[in-house]
Amino acid sequence: MDNLLEIQNGIAISRASVPQVPSDVFFKSLSEFVKNEGYIVQFFAYQEERSYRLLAVVRNTRLFVIGTEVGKTFRSLTGAVSEKFHLFEREIAEQFGLKPDGHPWLKMVRYHKNYTGEKDVFGNHYQDDIPGNYPYFTVEGESIHEVAVGPVHAGIIEPGHFRFQCAGEEVLHLEIQLGYQHRGIEKMLPDLPQKRLPIIGESIAGDTSIGHNLCLCQALEALADIPVDRGASIIRTIALELERIANHIGDLGALSGDVAFNPPAAYFGRIRGDFLNLLQVLCGNRFGKSLVRPGGVTQVIGEEQLRIIREKLTEITPEIEHVCDLLFTAHTVQARFEHTGTVTEAMAKDLGLVGFAGRACGIAYDARISFPTECYAELPGNSNHVTNGDVNSRATVRREEVMHSLKLIGLLLDKYEVFMDSLIAVQMRDHDLKPDAFVVTINEGWRGEISHCLLTDGKGKLQRYKIKDPSFHNWTGLAMSLRNQEISDFPLCNKSYNLSYCGFDL
């Protein structure tokens, strides 16, 4: 702990103050921290003149940072310390051509050339289409068969590849290979004019437009010392909660559809639309795109919008309660939800699951409580009572979060009234960023902890932009949910997490 520097969410510090320790000290400090209920928020590489640096942002109840310089290989902590390092180390290998020595399953994450021109760690030349040169984990035996699904799936959803190793109907192992959605976001961001940044921030994962763009704008605000009006903070918080409700409701409907119970599927599908329409009332876009910009929000809530939102919430809250009751008390639904796709608390802790998926396994962490941004410090938290780690727990936690968020929006609207006449909308414009600065921002999106990390160079230009979607932690959780499960339960398990492909692939 002595080597780590405590930092605050969304407060920029000088890069000189980030502790740079020898690499053996770095790995020792990190492994001790993670062994003691510590979790990784960010762990990535960047280039400093001709050398490579690693930087880790970690959390327990507080937030810390530590850095080191490494050569072309570094010590892997995945096998020796915790599975939490697994994908982060593979990502570092892919992005910078640095090899984690002793990594138990070193293969590409997204399939792209590295940024540095170093020799490819995976032996790929990238002239071939994905998947390139790498093995899948296979189970051998006479009664074993393999099922390959994707990248193009049967519904209107994003692409990804799922490889099941099965004995009869039972799944022994599921390997999830993504990368099909890779758009090169982290690589392109530092070189773009600032006016393009929020537009991309809103499209990192379109179902989390508010969450990701909030991380982006808060980071720019920290790097440029831009104040945000309290009224604008309230609107941002309302928007993030509307996004949470819309997605949870949509997924509860989809879960209902996946167990062939159609009435709630139809009702929740429609009710989700009502919440997207409320975002449209806020800012003209059903996903909240264009609302959040550095310094505040582009549209304020006036009397009319306040009334529309209030009336809609009054009308729809009892409907949600009734449909939830219909869904969760149906025996056929309970029979399918309970004991399906279970991840134990111990497993969830080793994987470092975040968000509602983590809370459904008994990990109480909620960034809104632990590292509050915007108005969360003054709002009541939520606690969950069904935490068995199965589909039923994930669905129940989402149900509880919907009801909690509805309450929060009511409280926020009351708080907002005094700001209504004084709040001024902001316009997008360029800001000078502090040179040699570092900032990390964290927000609790509907899937869980979203984090952006920015480094500027000596001239105040972005040098490294690192993005982490909660799905980066949780995809492995889905894979573990399928262990010893019937393969026909995959859609149900998948929907109970509903992870982001593009948020992972970037």
Partner: protein
């Protein structure tokens, strides 16, 4: 059972009467832009400078709806002097060039291929391919299957297999990693087939234009029949485009 009936009564019938009856969207929604061609050049330049998508041509005084994300920054920056976004969501186009607009679009139904109407007017099955879409286009396409829009009542459905489809509906800027899967899906659809580019990503790369990891323009790979602009297109924009072009 009683609970189902009670919920059914509470929910009632929510399906929209559109297109038989007009439907109006909330006034903050940004649809087809209204452009003042007589606007002073200074204001046009200010709007062009703030546009994150560089989709305003200040010499011609036009906007490229194939690049536009409808963020509305130009309307605010120019105080509505050059561009104002109307609530008209009917923005589909049969020709890429038509999307570069001074505020008017040709009537889509008149530009549809007549043999498509004959072939697919009563039944159209589409295979959706997300090629690096951010999931907002996908989500707002999926929404067409909810009771409010109820797409199936028009004989239009999204199907699981390209073998069962009459065409593909593509979203996203087409990552290099999805290019082959997209082409394979297209090949698996029996001819004659249609190609629909939905959202500014599939038309021009959208927010990601300039990235080395994307193709960016669906028409550079496949013959596109129908363009649906937006970020994402409003479900009604998609509904209108499908009905006008095929029915």
């Amino acid at each position: 059972m009683l609970k189902i009936i009670r919920n059914k009564l509470e929910q009632g019938c929510k399906t929209t009467a559109y297109p038989k009856e007009p439907i109006s969207l909330y006034r903050r929604y940004r649809g087809l832009p209204v452009i003042d061609k007589n606007c002073h050049t200074d204001i046009v330049s200010r709007c062009a400078a703030i546009c994150p998508q560089d989709c305003i041509d200040s010499a011609d005084k036009t906007i490229d709806l194939g690049r536009c994300t409808f963020c509305g920054h130009c309307e605010t920056a120019g105080n509505g002097g050059f561009v104002r976004f109307s609530q008209n969501f009917e923005m589909g186009a049969a020709d890429r060039q038509d999307l570069i607009t001074d505020g008017t679009l040709p009537i889509l139904a008149a530009h549809a291929k007549q043999h498509f109407k004959k072939l697919f007017g009563r039944s159209l099955q589409l295979r959706q391919v997300s090629a690096a879409g951010c999931n907002s286009c996908e989500a707002d396409t999926n929404v067409l299957n909810t009771p409010f829009f109820d797409l199936s009542r028009f004989g239009i459905d999204f199907v699981a297999s390209p073998r069962h489809a009459d065409g593909i509906h593509v979203t996203g800027p087409i990552s290099r990693n999805m290019k082959q899967a997209l082409l394979d899906t297209y090949d698996a659809v029996p001819s004659p087939k249609v190609v629909i580019a939905s959202g500014c990503c599939s038309i021009s790369g959208g927010p990601f234009y300039g990235s080395e990891e994307i193709v960016g323009d669906l028409s550079s790979l496949l013959p596109v029949d129908l363009y649906i602009p937006g970020c994402p297109p409003h479900p009604l924009t998609t509904l209108h485009a499908l009905l006008s072009y095929f029915k």
